[in-house]
Subunit: 233 residues, 2 copies
């Protein structure tokens, strides 16, 4: 379910929407969206405020919810030889973090996001909200098998870079212009040694102050954007 | 109040701690911290698990809480002519965002963070937790008067750069090596026009994909780290 006007708009433009539910008030506010939905052949059904509360996972429902097709694509469709930038999440536990990183990947022009290992379900409502529509903007693949995800990136011609707090190589010293897959690990535990071993290079973000680390979403933003800007320099 | 072993450790090393409260279990787990506190002349008081629950703002209290001095410093002590990188938050509403940006600023080696206008109180528990100790690592100033905050940065020899989604200048095209104060606005509304007018340059993060924006914390991470790395190149 995509909830709120922004998410519904993104779902209509990038995904498959089965049905749209709107309250009377939301219908008046978002007439353009409703027209777009009807033009796309999507059924639009009125609901009461109380029903909207029931469908919503948020405290202040916007009164507009789309029921969408599942989002994930096969790995080989998401990661192709045309890809220049891919983000791989390994065992990421927090849906808000996963959604935020998907939004960052989209903003940075990534070609795909691969949710590998035990990473959270991208259909989780918190992930959908944190992604702010980006779930519908780029292909998302889900793969249990982490080595298979990394192998697919290598086969597509991408270097695999592991973000790792104790790596020798520093982000500002590495050539980031070539096609890259960034690999990020669990919030608490990082990447397991066997995954680190399978990547081409482990890289750390230099810590110039006294903080011991960055959180996952800000670390991913720094790594992915530094690559995206370097590739266009 | 600094809650949890990491925050207490940071408070002991960087701030003024009045008293430390620990449960029996936490005392056994963190004997080294308790020794450090006693050596620093801090009173250590045992509390029950139930009292720890009462003091805690989290669902799973760690059983160790420090009562600390208020953190903020006068603007002129925080922003000095020696400063090379300063982060200014204007009207930032979410304490988790403020704390995350303070952690990013610390990691990037910033000299100070200025919380200007209606920005949240850094002593808010969510801010303290998101900052993960960084509140004690660099000076934090609180200033109602936003023009005064910007004037102090200019007087200290910093260029003031406003992060703004509709700016003409793109982050990857600007020379970021000189001393800089980055200015970030409210999560929903961004920076007001009169604040934009008072900064030297408005800069946007290039959006290479289809996302319409980044959230505050990830945008700040990209801007502040791009500056920090450029200054050391």
């Amino acid at each position: 379910m995509a909830e709120g006007a922004n998410a519904v708009e993104a779902a209509l433009s990038g995904g498959t929407v089965y049905e749209l539910f709107v309250t009377e008030r939301a219908a008046a506010q978002h007439a353009g969206l409703l027209d777009a939905a009807r033009e796309a052949g999507v059924a639009v059904s009125p609901i009461t405020d109380r029903a909207a509360d029931g469908l919503s996972e948020t405290v202040t429902p916007q009164g507009i919810v789309a029921v969408c097709a599942l989002l994930d694509r096969p790995l080989e469709e998401a990661v192709t030889p045309a890809a220049k930038l891919v983000v791989v999440l390994v065992d990421v536990a927090d849906p808000g973090n996963a959604g935020t990183v998907i939004r960052v990947a989209d903003a940075a022009g990534a070609d795909a996001v691969v949710l590998a290992g035990d990473t959270v379900d991208p259909h989780n409502g918190k992930c959908v909200r944190a992604a702010a529509g980006s779930l519908f903007h780029l292909p998302i693949a889900r793969v249990r098998d982490v080595p298979a995800a990394l192998a697919a990136c290598s086969a597509a011609g991408l270097r695999t870079f592991a973000a790792h707090g104790y790596a020798d190589a520093e982000l500002d010293r590495v050539d980031l212009a070539a096609p890259t897959a960034w690999v990020f690990g669990n919030e608490a535990h990082g990447l397991p040694p066997d995954v680190l071993d399978r990547t081409d290079l482990a890289i750390r973000i230099p810590l110039y102050g006294r903080a011991e680390s960055l959180n996952l979403a800000t670390a991913a933003a720094v790594c992915v954007y530094t690559s995206a800007m370097a590739a266009r320099r």
